[in-house]
């Protein structure tokens, strides 16, 4: 569909931030379909940023750009720039394996490997070449504590990860990502498959973790964004419609479409 006028996006500049990501003119295609359109935005360090919007608005695709997970989808390609530290993440020469060690990810459905709890946590470290048992043991304890799973699993580290409950499995996946000491944590609707108690636990952990790392979370749940996010970005049909401090965006959205979405007129 052709439009003559580009709809206006409202991006409120965030003061006094160290941007961890600077996105410039990002377009992402699936084959011929444009899934993310002309997005330019900066995300602050050590804060929680929520990406919200209706299904199919491109928010998950956008999230997966930051650790190049879209590489695993054969027909996906991206143009523009995503600056992280001094690198352009989209540069095909970039070492994605190293990138993914710094930028961890948690998925919609808990996806522990069918191995022991211990092996799940050390997977990333072992792939990075860490072999010393003392180092691995320590990492397991620290990361499981960070994910508030240590007390429940310390006596059964050799048991299969699949014997854990859904909420525990998701916290194990969190621990597994934390074991690599990431600087950024990407979360793709991490609580949509969990019960309210497990959800609250994950949110609590994220609020704790944001003191040390940058968190970007895609969520379907607007209350969740309001509860935990410092900043919120609203996506609609592949475009970034509005971005700013969460409280401001929820209380006084500047774009009509944001207002409609937040008031539940579509979604």
């Amino acid at each position: 569909m052709l439009t003559l006028e580009k709809p206006k996006a409202s991006v409120t500049p965030i003061k006094k931030i160290n941007p961890v990501f600077q996105v410039k003119d990002l377009n992402i295609y699936y084959g011929d379909t444009l899934a993310v359109k002309d997005v330019s935005v900066q995300f602050p360090e050590r804060a929680i940023t929520a990406l919200i919007g209706p299904s199919g608005c491109g928010k998950s695709t956008f999230l997966r750009t930051f650790n190049r997970m879209n590489d695993l989808i054969p027909e996906a390609r991206a143009t523009g720039e995503v600056i992280y530290q001094e690198w352009n993440i989209l540069d095909p020469r970039l070492d994605v394996v190293a990138l993914r060690k710094e930028i961890g990810m948690l998925f919609q459905k808990p996806n522990p490997f069918p191995k022991s709890i211990y092996e799940n946590v050390v997977h990333g470290l072992k792939c990075a070449g860490v072999k010393k048992k003392a180092v691995l043991d320590e990492a397991v304890e620290i990361s499981l504590k960070q994910a508030d799973l240590w007390d429940e699993t310390r006596d059964r580290l050799t048991k299969s990860a699949l014997s854990l409950s859904g909420g525990q499995q998701q916290r194990l996946c969190l621990a597994r990502a934390l074991a690599l000491k990431p600087k950024v944590l990407l979360l793709d609707e991490p609580t949509s498959a969990l019960d309210p108690i497990s959800t609250a636990k994950i949110e609590e952990l994220l609020l704790e973790l944001m003191k040390e790392m940058t968190i970007i979370i895609v969520t379907h749940n607007m209350q969740q964004a309001a509860r935990i996010a410092d900043y919120t970005a609203f996506f609609f049909q592949g475009r970034l419609e509005e971005y700013g401090a969460t409280a401001a965006l929820f209380e006084a959205p500047k774009v009509e479409r944001t207002k409609q979405y937040l008031s539940g007129q579509f979604g």
Binding site: K101, N111, S163
Partner: protein, 295 residues
Amino acid sequence: MLKAKHVDRLMTGLMIGSAMIMAGILIFLLGIILLRGASHISLSFLTSNSSSFQAGGGIKNQLWNSFYLLVLTMVFTVPIGLLGGIYFAEYAKDNKWTSFLRSCVELLASLPSIIVGMFGMLLFVNVFGWGFSILSGALTLTIFNMPVMIQVSEAALRAIPNHQRHGSAALGATRWQTVKTVLLPAAFPALLTGMILSAGRVFGESAALIFTAGLTTPNLHFRQWHLFAMDSPFNPMRTAETLSVHIWAVNTVGIIPDAAQVAAGASAVLVLVILLFNLSARIIGRMIERGIKGN
């Protein structure tokens, strides 16, 4: 006009009927083979040499040959089949080249074993000059079995959901690390089941071996440790008549007076071994699966 409900009932009945026919044929077949052969199976039948002219020969060497050929074949087949399957499931892009390769594998899998046998005779027996030998037979059976192994491995890997691959990649694992440490262990029960089932196919194969491993066996001495001695059971260059070839041979070219009994006994042993393969594939697969799930 039939009502939908009646059609449903009719189709259910037909499906149950088909399943019953299949089960019935199997039970009937196994029953006949085992009933006719069981009386002939004895310790001396299993542990004595076969005879060429007189009655009362056993199947010791044939049984040994079958297992030895199977082991050698699997040693060749499993690595190639596994690597091929990993390539198709994890690395191959979806393009014309891949679909050409895949058609090759499918075609190879559907070749009649007698054709594979003729090819093995031309290449291994004649061109390479290895004669009728265990090595020629094992390589021929490898050609016969490898495509199946590739397909089994590919299917086992494809059955693992993508979120496992993504989870591992997101932790900075390379593709090979993911294959080695996540996908292969997860696919192991299915791989093992596929391997054992294809082992059954190899164990029972005869047509491909008649022209490659031969119809005779030297007089084996199981204390002969010199590998290339003609009477060494492990010598890969000697001729080797397997159990299923023996069944064919005594029935067609054999002149022993008790050919019918020997064939019946050997058939029963063959069927029992294959049955054992199938049962153990199910049991071991399920045991590992339970171990992984941790319940």
